[in-house]
């Protein structure tokens, strides 16, 4: 089913008209309400009246994740806090999270785009959806939740973790749709096998998977192990959360909800827009958001766009699975991790940050993060209990800063390879 056929199947001209009208409004609102962005526009000699159609989009300055940090927590909101009905946050590049706010209308838009996504995936009112994304500051859980309710499906708001209960409810409630990270779905499949639960005895038919990169091979594995259709959903909290784009049943790229988010592909080096079909960095301009609209937000995700009409009948532009990042962000079990966050934790422990190396592995189907820290003089104690305490302290701090567990290993000085110029901080051994 197509939830909003008028929009999802609109002609390119119709879509451009909608986008132009909403872009002009958005630029005005931001110019008059966000001093830091107004200044950016003034620096390049732009006023809102210079933006007359979406062809003028590329004249506008970019918004970066660091802009959100510099205006922490609410400096980029364009409405008074009395209009904000919800905040979410994701990890920032250093200690402080990236905060976003939603008005009532924003939450309705979000529900709308998630509902469209669910329909693309083939979910309908009769479905029982087990939402195993985390509920909380992370947008995954609540984002899916409200979309399901809006569609009229039944939601099991179980949140992440607690695998035994996940399996129990899946069996007892007859879950038909599972929403979680792709790696967690594979973990559940393994646990099912261990518990002797056969996929034939479950009613699962669709998986809505996102929040981390996954390959076509992983998709095949998930589909065969769980006996479902595995659908890729994309989103980021800065833009909205899950539902920025989603695959349809044909699984040939994720349809972007263009009437809310205008995509562009730029060359991350020259920052110039690239023609359709070329791989580059994905940039979004939100055109309906009231809480925190963002102009030309650089996602750092690398992908390409396809404007051809899809076999499903939708005309919404499709983005390919992300091919990587134009920065050093890692996604571990659906959680964004920046090496700079680890550095700031280590800096809190001593005056000079020690050399460190992050090693990411995929063991079975779960990502693990190992941190090697050189024990230089400032860290070295003659007593085992002090060193163990140091290791525990680092582990604990990282857990609370990053939200995921890290295996910390103390190593001798100079055992981590030095490279000329920029230090190599991350080894990612996952085959993504």
């Amino acid at each position: 089913m197509i939830w909003n056929e008028k929009i999802e199947c609109a002609s390119r001209e119709e879509m451009r008209t909608i986008q132009t009208e909403r872009l002009i409004e958005t630029v005005k609102r931001i110019y008059h309400n966000v001093p830091s962005y107004r200044q950016k526009m003034q620096e390049v000699g732009l006023v809102p009246d210079d933006i007359r159609s979406i062809d003028d989009l590329s004249k506008l300055p970019f918004t970066l994740k660091s802009d959100l940090r510099d205006n922490y927590p609410f400096g980029m909101f364009t409405v008074p806090m009395s209009e904000i009905v919800r905040v979410h946050a994701s990890s920032g590049t250093t200690g402080k999270p990236t905060v976003v706010g939603y008005t009532r209308k924003d939450l309705n838009s979000w529900s709308e785009v998630v509902t469209r996504s669910l329909c693309m995936a083939g979910v309908h009112r009769e479905d029982m959806v087990q939402v195993a994304y985390g509920y909380g500051l992370f947008t995954g859980g609540l984002g899916l939740h409200y979309g399901c309710e809006n569609l009229g499906a039944s939601v099991i708001p179980i949140s992440g973790g607690n695998t035994d209960k996940q399996l129990q409810l899946m069996e007892d409630f007859g879950t038909t749709v599972l929403a979680c990270t792709p790696s967690y779905s594979l973990f559940l499949a393994e646990e099912m096998e261990a518990a002797g639960i056969k996929k034939e005895n479950l009613k699962l038919r669709i998986g809505i998977f996102g929040a981390e990169p996954w390959t076509e091979n992983m998709r095949k594995e998930i589909e065969s192990k769980l006996g479902i259709k595995a659908i890729d959903i994309y989103g980021l909290s800065e833009i909205m959360g899950p539902g920025v784009s989603c695959e349809c049943e044909h699984q040939v790229g994720m349809h972007i909800m263009e009437d809310h988010f205008i995509p562009e592909i730029i060359d991350p080096e020259t920052l110039q827009p690239l023609p359709a079909g070329e791989i580059g960095e994905l940039v979004f301009t939100t055109i309906t958001k009231e809480g925190i609209p963002l102009i030309r937000y650089r996602t750092r995700d690398l992908t390409r766009l396809n404007y051809e009409k899809c076999a499903c009948g939708r005309t919404l532009v499709r983005m390919e699975k992300c091919k990587g990042r134009s920065d050093d962000m890692l996604i571990i079990r659906g959680v964004n991790v920046f090496p700079s966050q680890i550095e700031s934790v280590l800096l809190e422990m001593s005056e000079t940050a020690p050399h460190y190396l992050l090693i990411v592995e995929r063991e079975g189907n779960l990502d693990t993060l190992k941190l090697m820290v050189e024990v230089q003089e400032q860290f070295f104690s003659d007593e085992i209990k002090q060193l163990e305490a140091l290791r525990k302290k680092i582990t604990h701090k990282l857990q609370s800063t990053l939200g995921i567990s890290v295996d910390v290993k103390l190593v001798e000085p100079k055992t981590i390879e030095r490279t000329a110029g920029k230090a190599k901080r991350v080894i990612d051994n996952r085959k993504l």
Binding site: Q376, E377, F379, F380, D382, E383, I384, K409, V411
Partner: protein, 142 residues
């Protein structure tokens, strides 16, 4: 009375201990006492050497994490209950031992290297009870 003990951080991997002993040996530094404390992942090598300051700078130059720690050395008769007697005195006076290692000198006496929580108090207590402490210069010479 206070002896400078050399402590070295070592990962649990083969060849590292050998490397330390080679480096010190090549510099003409002799070891008089020696112990390794280990955990699953790393260890701390503790030793009394002939020239602690020199050993420290040589190992630092070779990129080891190393430091000098104050310890004392108790000379005790090499006979049953001698250690028990000493430890009884210390615990009776609330002196706690972080770690210790010991070795026999001959059939008459043994040396016990001690790292107490409060080194000054430990020395006072032992002297009060007429226990024999080995001087630093003597210790480095062994």
């Amino acid at each position: 009375m206070i002896i400078k003990q050399l402590s070295v951080f070592l990962e649990n991997k083969s060849g590292r201990l050998n490397e330390v002993t080679q480096i010190l040996g090549n510099a003409g530094i002799n070891m008089s006492a020696f112990s390794v404390a280990d955990t699953a992942e790393f260890g701390i090598l503790r030793m009394i050497v002939s020239e602690p300051e020199k050993a420290l700078s040589i190992l630092k130059a070779a990129d080891f994490s190393v430091k000098l720690t104050d310890v004392i050395c108790l000379n005790s008769p090499n006979e049953p209950l001698a250690l028990a007697r000493a430890l009884n005195i210390l615990s009776g006076e609330s002196v706690f031992i972080e770690y210790l290692y010991a070795y026999s000198m001959n059939d008459k006496s043994a040396n016990i290297v001690l790292k107490p929580d409060n080194i000054q108090k430990c020395i006072e207590v032992l002297q009060k009870h007429k226990m024999e402490l080995v001087s630093a210069s003597e210790m480095y010479k062994i």
